[in-house]
C-alpha cells in the first residue's frame, strides 16, 4: 500500500427508511490492494451501505468520495462506469438468459453488424475457467442451475470487468468449502493487482482468512475500523453484538453425540432407492423420531433435489417412500405437509418470501394453509405467535406489520424458519437454514435444532458448512453426482472422512 488516499471514502452516511434509521453517520474507507470486511449482525446495515455507495439508494446525508472525487451515483450503472463492480446480496441476475450473457450483459463486445457472440463466449469461458467452472456450458440458461451456481455466475460477472473496486455482499453464503477457496484465490490475485475489495460474510473463518481490515457496524452505526489480525474473534463478536457472548463458548463445543438408531421402532421416514429421472437417485434413508440427518456433498451433488423429493415438491419416479410404516407417494408439498413434513428452501427469494406481505402474514402462512382457508387463525393468535418468534429468533425490526421484503436478508431467513416451526412438524427439512445468518443467530438456530430434536422432532439438515453438519447430525448421508453414496452414523466422523468419500471413486 503505497498510497495513503483511499479509493473509496464514505463519510457520515445516513439513510432512513420509514420507521428505521438504517444508517446513521457511517464512515468507510477502502484502500487499493486490500480486502476489507464489512461486519455486523443481520440488519446492521451492511447491504444498505453498499447500496448507498453504488447509488441504488439515495443518501440522506454524508459524502461519497471515489478516487478523490466526490460522487453521488444516480444508479448502479453510474457506479459501474466509475469502475465499481458489485455483487449484491441476493443473486441479481436474469434467470431467462444464458450464463454467458449474464456475465457480459451491458458490456458485450461488438463488431461490425452487432454483438460479437463468439467473443462473448470466449470471454465468458475465460472467466468461468478462472473460477474453476470450466465445465459449465456458457450457453445454458441460468435458471437451470442451482442457486450456488447462480451465485458463482454473479461473481464471475463482477470479476470479469477491469474494476478498481469490487464489492461482494455475502458471496459465499451458498458455496461449499472448495468453491470458497476458488473464489479466494481469485480475490487474492485481484487484490495483488491493486483492486480494493469489500467483502461481507457471516463466516468468521472466511473473514479472518481473507481480510486485511474490517469495519464493524451495529444497528446502523459505526463501531469502528480495525486491522483484522489485531482483533481477536471474541472481541469482534462482542463489538458486533454490543455485548459479551457466552453462547460463543458453546459454538465450538461439540455437545451432540449420535443418538443410537432405535431399530426397534418404526422409522418415521424410510426411503428406499428413491429417485427421479434426471435429478437424483439411490436415496436410502431411514430416519427415526428425534434424529438429525445431515446431507453432505459438493454443490450440485443433489442435496436440494433430495430434499425436494422428500417434500413432494418434485415427484419421485423411482424407489419407495414409507412414512411411519405405510407406503406413500407424495404428489405435492401439500400432501407432504399433511404427513407432518416441512421444508424450508435454500432459495428464499423465489421459493420462500411472499415479498409484499407482512412479517406476520409470512410467518403464519404455512399454518394457515394447513388449517384451510375457511378457518382463519384469529388475529390475536397470529399476533401472539408472531411476537413469540420475533422474540425467540430476535427478528429485527421487531415489527409484525413490516413488509418482509424490507427486512435484511438474515432476518428474512429467520421469519421463514419460524413459518415452519409454528406448524410443529414431525420432520423438518432445512436447506441451508443458516445461510446469511449472523454468528449469534446461527448459534441460536443450531441450539434450536438440537432442542427440537431432543423434543422428538426429526430433522434433515443441509448446509454448505460441513462442520456445522458434522456438529449437529446423528447421521450423515453423503451425496455425490446426484446419487447417495454413503450413510454414516456420526460417531466421531471427521471432515476428512466425508471428504474422502466425496473425492473417492463412486464405487
Amino acid at each position: 500500500m503505497n498510497e495513503i488516499v483511499p479509493v473509496v471514502d464514505l463519510r457520515g452516511i445516513s439513510i432512513e427508511f420509514p420507521g428505521v434509521k438504517a444508517l446513521d453517520g457511517v464512515d468507510l474507507r477502502l484502500f487499493q490492494g486490500e480486502v476489507h470486511a464489512l461486519m455486523g449482525e443481520n440488519g446492521a446495515g451492511k447491504s444498505t451501505l453498499i447500496k448507498a455507495l453504488t447509488g441504488v439508494y439515495a443518501i440522506d446525508s454524508g459524502t461519497i468520495t471515489v478516487l478523490g472525487e466526490q460522487h453521488r451515483f444516480a444508479g448502479p450503472a453510474e457506479a459501474q462506469d466509475a469502475r465499481i463492480s458489485t455483487v449484491y446480496q441476493e443473486v441479481n441476475l436474469c434467470p431467462n438468459l444464458s450464463i454467458e450473457e449474464n456475465i457480459l450483459l451491458g458490456r458485450e463486445p461488438h463488431r461490425r453488424g452487432g454483438i460479437h457472440w463468439k467473443e462473448v463466449r470466449r470471454r465468458a469461458r475465460a472467466v468461468l475457467e478462472q473460477l474453476n467452472l470450466g465445465h459449465l456450458d456458457p450457453g445454458s440458461v441460468l435458471s437451470s442451475h442451482s442457486i450456488a451456481i447462480q451465485q458463482l455466475v454473479a461473481i464471475a460477472r463482477s470479476v470479469q470487468v477491469d474494476a478498481k473496486v469490487l464489492i461482494l455482499d455475502e458471496p459465499t453464503s451458498s458455496l461449499d468449502t472448495e468453491e470458497v477457496q476458488q473464489l479466494f484465490a481469485v480475490i487474492r490475485s485481484l487484490r495483488d493487482n491493486g483492486v480494493a475489495i469489500l467483502f461481507v460474510s457471516h463466516f468468521l473463518e472466511q473473514v479472518y482468512e481473507i481480510s486485511d481490515r474490517m469495519t464493524v457496524l451495529r444497528n446502523g452505526r459505526l463501531v469502528g475500523e480495525f486491522m483484522t489480525r489485531e482483533l481477536p474473534r471474541m472481541s469482534l463478536i462482542s463489538k458486533m453484538m454490543g455485548k459479551e457472548l457466552d453462547a460463543l463458548t458453546e459454538l465450538d463445543r461439540s455437545d451432540v453425540r449420535a443418538r443410537p438408531d432405535r431399530t426397534d421402532a418404526v422409522p418415521l421416514l424410510l426411503a428406499e432407492k428413491l429417485g427421479r429421472k434426471g435429478s437424483v437417485g439411490n436415496v436410502d434413508i431411514a430416519l427415526y423420531e428425534g434424529q438429525i440427518l445431515g446431507l453432505a456433498g459438493l454443490l450440485g451433488s443433489g442435496r436440494t433435489e433430495t430434499a425436494r423429493l422428500l417434500f413432494g415438491a418434485d415427484r419421485a419416479d423411482q424407489g419407495q417412500l414409507t412414512i411411519r410404516g405405510t407406503a406413500q407417494t407424495l404428489r405435492s408439498p401439500r400432501s407432504a405437509i399433511d404427513h407432518g413434513i416441512a421444508f424450508s428452501s435454500e432459495n428464499r427469494k423465489e421459493e420462500g418470501l411472499i415479498g409484499d406481505l407482512s412479517v406476520r402474514d409470512n410467518l403464519v402462512l404455512a399454518m394457515q394453509a394447513s388449517q384451510g382457508w375457511l378457518r382463519r387463525i384469529p388475529a390475536p393468535q397470529q399476533d401472539q405467535l408472531t411476537e413469540k418468534f420475533i422474540a425467540a429468533l430476535d427478528i429485527r425490526p421487531a415489527n409484525k406489520d413490516a413488509l418482509i421484503r424490507n427486512l435484511s436478508g438474515g432476518n428474512q431467513q429467520k421469519v421463514l424458519l419460524a413459518r415452519w416451526l409454528i406448524t410443529n412438524p414431525k420432520l423438518l427439512i432445512l436447506d441451508e437454514p443458516t445461510r446469511g445468518i449472523d454468528i449469534g443467530a446461527k448459534t441460536q438456530i443450531q441450539k434450536l435444532i438440537s432442542t427440537l430434536a431432543a423434543d422428538g422432532m426429526s430433522i434433515i439438515f443441509i448446509s454448505a458448512e460441513l462442520e456445522e453438519v458434522l456438529r449437529l447430525s446423528d447421521h450423515i448421508a453423503v451425496l455425490k453426482d446426484r446419487r447417495m453414496v454413503a450413510d454414516l452414523p456420526n460417531d466421531g466422523v471427521t471432515m476428512e472422512d466425508v471428504m474422502t468419500i466425496i473425492a473417492g471413486s463412486a464405487a
Binding site: 448502479p76 457506479a79 458489485t86 441476475l93 431467462n96 451491458g106 452487432g114 445454458s140 477457496q181 471432515m495
Partner: protein, 337 residues
C-alpha cells in the same frame, strides 16, 4: 481445510444443460410445426387450398398484423403490454387519409405519420416509466385517446386517391407461377428482420430480454432500464404507425372504426408464437408464425364457408385453444419453475 480436486462433471449433466439451452426455442418451434401441420390438413380437406398463393395471401392480408406483432413482442418481452396499437393504426390511417385529401405529398405524409406514432408511443412509455403507472392502464387510456382523435379528425370514412398510395396498394410483385405478393409484404418482412437483428444483435435488444427476466436485477446489473422501457413503447408506437401505413396501402382509406380489437389479435399472435406475457422469453419469428396461424384459422373458416356467424366465433375460439394446448404439449418443461 483440504481442497478436494473436482472430478470432471459427469456427461449426463452437460447434456441436460445443453438440452435446456435449446428448450428455449421449443414453444416457437412447436408453433411453426403446428402451422405446417394445419396447412397440410387444409390441403387435404379443401380443394384449392394447397397452393402457394393461399400461403402468400396469409402474408398479403396480414402485413399490418405482422408489424404490430413485432412491436408488441418488444413490449411483452419487457413484461409490459400495449393495448393502444389498434387505435394508433386507425389514427395513423386517419391522419394519412386526411392529409392526402388535403393534398400533401405522400412521402411527407408517411414521415409525419411515423413520427406521430413513435411520439405517441414514447409519451406513453414516459408516463409508464416516470409516473410508475401500469402499462395496461396507460395504454388503455392511449387506446381511448387515439380512437377519440380519429373521430375528431372525421367520423366519415375518407378515401385515399393519392397515386402513390394507390400504386402501393395495387402493385403486385410476381413470384412466378401466377403467385404474387404485395410491396407491403416486403416491408413487413423487412421489419421482422430488423427487429430480429435489434433483439439479438444489439445491447438494447438484450436489455429488453434482461428487463423481462427481472427488472430490478437488470437495474442492479447497471443496464439502462428506464431508457429501454420507454423506447420499447416508442418502438411499438412506431410499428403501429408503420402498420397504419400498411393498412392504408391495403384498404386505401381512413376510417375511424378501423382496426378495432386489433390489439387483441396482436397479443394473441405474440403469445401463440411462444412469448411469455410475463416477459423474458420469446422471439419475433415466433410472433410471425403466430400471425400466420391466426390467419390460417381465418382461411379455414372462409374455405369451410358453411359456418354461421356464431359458429365462426366458436370455431375460432376452439382452434385458438387447440393450438395453445398442442403447443403446451410439445414444449413441455420449458417454462421455468
Amino acid at each position: 481445510m483440504s481442497v478436494v480436486t473436482r472430478t470432471p462433471a459427469p456427461l449426463n449433466r452437460t447434456r441436460i444443460s445443453l438440452l435446456e439451452g435449446k428448450a428455449r426455442y421449443a414453444p416457437t418451434l412447436a408453433t411453426v410445426g403446428l402451422f405446417l401441420a394445419m396447412f397440410a390438413a387444409g390441403a387435404v380437406m379443401y380443394p384449392g387450398f394447397l397452393s402457394g398463393q393461399v400461403f402468400l395471401n396469409l402474408l398479403v392480408d396480414n402485413t399490418f398484423l405482422i408489424v404490430l406483432a413485432v412491436g408488441m413482442t418488444f413490449v411483452i418481452l419487457t413484461g409490459g403490454i400495449d393495448l393502444s396499437v389498434g387505435s394508433v393504426v386507425a389514427l395513423s390511417m386517419m391522419i394519412a387519409a386526411a392529409l392526402l385529401q388535403a393534398g400533401w405529398n405522400p412521402v411527407a405524409v408517411i414521415a409525419l405519420v411515423l413520427l406521430t406514432g413513435a411520439t405517441f408511443g414514447l409519451l406513453m412509455g414516459l408516463v409508464i416509466q416516470v409516473f410508475e403507472i401500469q402499462p395496461f392502464i396507460v395504454t388503455l387510456a392511449g387506446l381511448f385517446l387515439a380512437r377519440g382523435l380519429c373521430y375528431v379528425i372525421s367520423v366519415d370514412s375518407i378515401t385515399v386517391t393519392d397515386p402513390f398510395f394507390t400504386a402501393m396498394a395495387q402493385a403486385r410483385i410476381p413470384l412466378g407461377g401466377r403467385m404474387f405478393i404485395s410491396p407491403g409484404v416486403v416491408i413487413a418482412l423487412l421489419v421482422v428482420a430488423l427487429a430480429f437483428y435489434v433483439l439479438h444483435q444489439t445491447r438494447f435488444g438484450r436489455t429488453v430480454y434482461a428487463i423481462g427476466g427481472g427488472e430490478s436485477s437488470a437495474l442492479l446489473m447497471g443496464l439502462a432500464v428506464p431508457r429501454t422501457k420507454v423506447l420499447v413503447y416508442g418502438i411499438s408506437g412506431l410499428c403501429s404507425a408503420v402498420a397504419g401505413v400498411l393498412f392504408s396501402f391495403y384498404s386505401l382509406s381512413g376510417y375511424s372504426l378501423a382496426a378495432t380489437g386489433l390489439e387483441l389479435d396482436a397479443i394473441a399472435a405474440v403469445v401463440v408464437g411462444g412469448t411469455l406475457l410475463t416477459g423474458g422469453y420469446g422471439y419475433v419469428l415466433g410472433s410471425l408464425a403466430g400471425v400466420l396461424i391466426l390467419g390460417i384459422v381465418q382461411t379455414f373458416i372462409s374455405y369451410e364457408g358453411t359456418l354461421s356467424s356464431w359458429w365462426t366465433r366458436i370455431v375460432i375460439g376452439a382452434l385458438l385453444l387447440a393450438f395453445i394446448l398442442l403447443q403446451k404439449l410439445f414444449s413441455r418443461k420449458v417454462t421455468v419453475t
